[in-house]
Subunit: 497 residues, 2 copies
């Protein structure tokens, strides 16, 4: 929490004094040969992209049972890719859910051990009709690779695999001990991971985790992600009469489950964007002036943002900037709603059921289990007479995560990014949830550094997901150097954080 915060508070310091990571501090470690690495990546680039396209063509959607076979195929493909990259010990390990691809490459006991994390599962693809090319037929155009998972996370994960391949090819071995955990359930909240970590704590032991899921600020600006939000979600099922009813015969005399659901949902969020669920904000840590200054330092053009989304106004909790809302304030969003007749034309039905899916993004120190209880209580309090309401918590809750910025692995990441991009990284958070960061911390005692190169504007979770090939190129080079840089950290420093 020094760096930006101190500079911002002191004021009047020069630009250099406000930077958290001094460009001049970069230490070259081990056998790092930047030119050789660059040549390697250039010469092997076509092959690397061809392999990535193969990986992206596997429809490993974790949320949908019918893709179970694709999940297994993706895990097998990835395990083979790790072996090809030189990792001597690669295993597909069963979990309570989809398998984990595990790998390890021990080098020497006195060197630090980093565990590289990523996920080979992807989000569902609907609405399919909005994709310009099929989501599982990777398409290269305009210097980008388009496919579901191109950025999140198959592409970003594959960057790390190819960096390790280069270490293997150029140096014969990595400069530190490496472990790998690539899971298949990130997009459904990693429900099996905590138990998997508990069961295999010894095998997974490392000094720090490196997350190959996420991205840089933009194609030219590096960033260090120090926090991610937690997640808690519910489905609300409202049941009225035992059958769909004729809205003429019964309308006006019987509660309509859609109206009941609408009343419940409307009660959850005010017109001012503030969440009205009783107790929702009780444990929310207020943003410090230093944190607000950090966020204010991040270039963000609200007009451009609106244009890019095609909206004429932004929206959110009063009293906060857009980035503060998205990064450091909790949210509640209805992800889906349905009930009654959705076809073409009119059906004058009074439906018997209505449903909604809601997820909340949480910030320190909100607790997902408590939030689910608060949501349940709120729904019960706001359920009108004449309907039965069921609230089901989704699996895959996650606690929020916030890393101390003075951690040496974060400092090393800042130095490498500054060198590769030629500019200091921004210190940012993600409004997204990377439950694994908190899980690594609580289950395995490791901090996690986000060091990934997915494209932030790459339509993650949406149609026409892509990754820039230039992001891939920079990613493999940066990751190669970062693994060298970590060799300069002392294991006990990494563990202490």
């Amino acid at each position: 929490m020094m760096g930006v915060a101190a500079g911002g508070a002191g004021g009047g310091n020069g630009a250099a004094g406000r930077q958290p990571f001094g460009f001049a501090d970069i230490r070259e470690v081990g056998t790092l040969d930047v030119q050789a690495a660059d040549r390697y990546f250039t010469e092997n680039r076509d092959r690397h992209i061809a392999e990535l396209k193969e990986f992206l063509s596997i429809a490993s959607v974790s949320a949908l049972p019918q893709h179970r076979g694709d999940i297994v195929r993706a895990a097998e493909w990835l395990a083979a890719a790790l072996r090809r990259a030189g990792v001597p010990d690669v295993r597909i390990m069963e979990t309570g859910g989809h398998p984990v691809v595990f790998g390890q490459w021990p080098v020497a006991d006195h060197l630090p051990t980093a565990l590289i994390y990523g996920h080979y599962d992807v989000q569902p693809v609907d609405p399919l009709d909005l994709w310009e090319t099929p989501p599982f037929e990777p398409s290269l155009r305009d210097g980008r690779i388009y496919a579901r998972g191109a950025s999140d996370d198959k592409g970003a994960l594959y960057v790390a695999v190819k960096a390790v391949e280069a270490l293997s090819a150029l140096d014969g071995r990595p400069p530190i001990n490496l472990k790998f955990v690539f899971e298949g359930e990130e997009e459904i909240g990693s429900p099996a991971l905590p138990e998997f970590f508990r069961r295999h704590a010894g095998l997974l032991k490392a000094d720090v985790a490196v997350c190959a899921d996420g991205g840089q600020w933009d194609a030219d600006t590096p960033c260090l992600t120090v926090g991610s939000k937690g997640l808690a979600g519910i489905q609300i099922d409202v049941e009225g009469a035992n059958s769909d009813l004729h809205s003429g015969v019964h309308g006006g005399g019987v509660q309509n489950p859609i109206h009941a659901l609408v009343a419940i949902l409307a009660s959850m969020r005010g017109g001012d964007g503030r969440i009205q669920v009783e107790g929702f904000y009780d444990r929310v840590r207020d943003l410090t002036p230093e944190e607000r200054a950090d966020i204010a330092r991040v270039p963000f053009d609200e007009e451009e943002y609106k244009r890019s989304l095609g909206v004429d106004a932004l929206f959110g909790e009063a009293g906060y900037t857009t980035l503060e809302r998205q990064w450091a304030r909790p949210t509640l969003e209805v992800n889906g709603i349905w009930g009654g007749f959705q076809g073409e034309g009119v059906k004058t039905v009074l439906p018997s059921r209505a449903h909604a899916k809601i997820t909340c993004r949480l910030v320190p120190d909100q607790d997902p289990d408590e939030i689910i209880r608060l949501l349940e209580d709120h729904v019960r309090r706001h359920t009108p007479a004449g309907v039965r309401v069921t609230v089901r918590a989704f699996p895959g809750s996650a606690r929020p995560f916030l890393m101390p910025r003075e951690h040496p692995a974060l400092q090393a990441a800042g130095r490498v990014l500054a060198e590769v991009y030629g500019r200091e990284p921004l210190v940012v958070r993600t409004g997204g949830t990377i439950p694994v960061a908190e899980t690594f911390r609580s289950a395995l005692g490791m901090w996690m550094v986000f060091f990934a190169f997915g494209d932030h504007d790459g339509n993650m979770h949406a149609p026409n997901e892509f990754m820039r090939l230039s992001s891939f190129d920079r990613g493999v080079r940066a990751t190669y150097r970062y693994l060298h840089a970590l060799a300069g950290c002392r294991p006990e420093e990494l563990r202490a954080g």
Copy 2:
């Protein structure tokens, strides 16, 4: 407006004095031979039901374009059935939409002319998984015939066709001039009918319309339906960002179209059931004390009603009984809502679109076009920033209908029903919309008598629609007699109303 109203206002009269139609007043007219008709219907019953099953097996869903061919097949089947029943002039006539099956059987100029109306189209069948037997494979069980359209309206319409067949077989000709209009768009609001009426006003000229769409109070109690509600409907389409968004990356900073839609819908109806659309009640005729007494006379067991629907509480506008709400107060119901992810599991998406379909049932003197304008205005006033909202009016608006009870065709219907059921009919309304009643009145200058035998508890517009075979049996006998009874009315009385 005499009968019940006068009795109710006077108070203290005996039960007979409160009845609108005197059992003793029944006049037998023409060649009516009740016993012969009864024998005819008994002897031909198996054939009649077999034919009805054939008719019901045609999936003539008017709302769904893919059933266009079934609509044509149903029209052709019905035209052939009318010819078999003895109607000498039967035509399938084009409209702007689905065709009308027209027929006429002129007998003598001095006799009254009745136009029998019904519809051969049916509602969609979803949710299909709730049907115990397929909706278009008619199934006889427990003395009922189950199929989409069994009551509404193929079954009820076929009752009239078979009554005419009996007139043809027993009397050689009907006792009055008959015309037939069986349309194929009732379930989508009969959009083409007004223009069809205007174009063919001469051909369709008659003294009174008889509606073979609807039903009696229950299997043992006759009723006269004097009113039906109007209909006005809109679809609301809410658009936010130009693409589905990652709820973590963008959540909290961008308006969610589902939340916007929920806010709009929640603003339309209060927790007390009163509709909050500005101006909605301005033209609503208050119920008179006489009308309230009429409705109070109708036996209605609220506990049994709740049990039958499987709900623990009813719901509706404060200050009115359930039947008053359903029959004589306007309603606003969301018939369908959808947006975002509806699949299994979690998708943490901030959707780009959300939709709802709304229909209002109207009472005198609400005007559907004005109501649509009020709905549009309300939606615009309650649209939050950051989304674009489109409101589309559904075709098929209808004005409410309320017939004077002293009309001779209504009196005749009351007498026939009293005789066939052995008890006086209740004077009721339907909360449903039969736009055609108002259309006949305004376009062709005819009053419409509802004389139909669908089962009111027959799951119309819902899964497992049925008609009791006993209702069919009573219906054909009653209709046979009613057409005879109309021969006792003077044409000019019928037209004057």
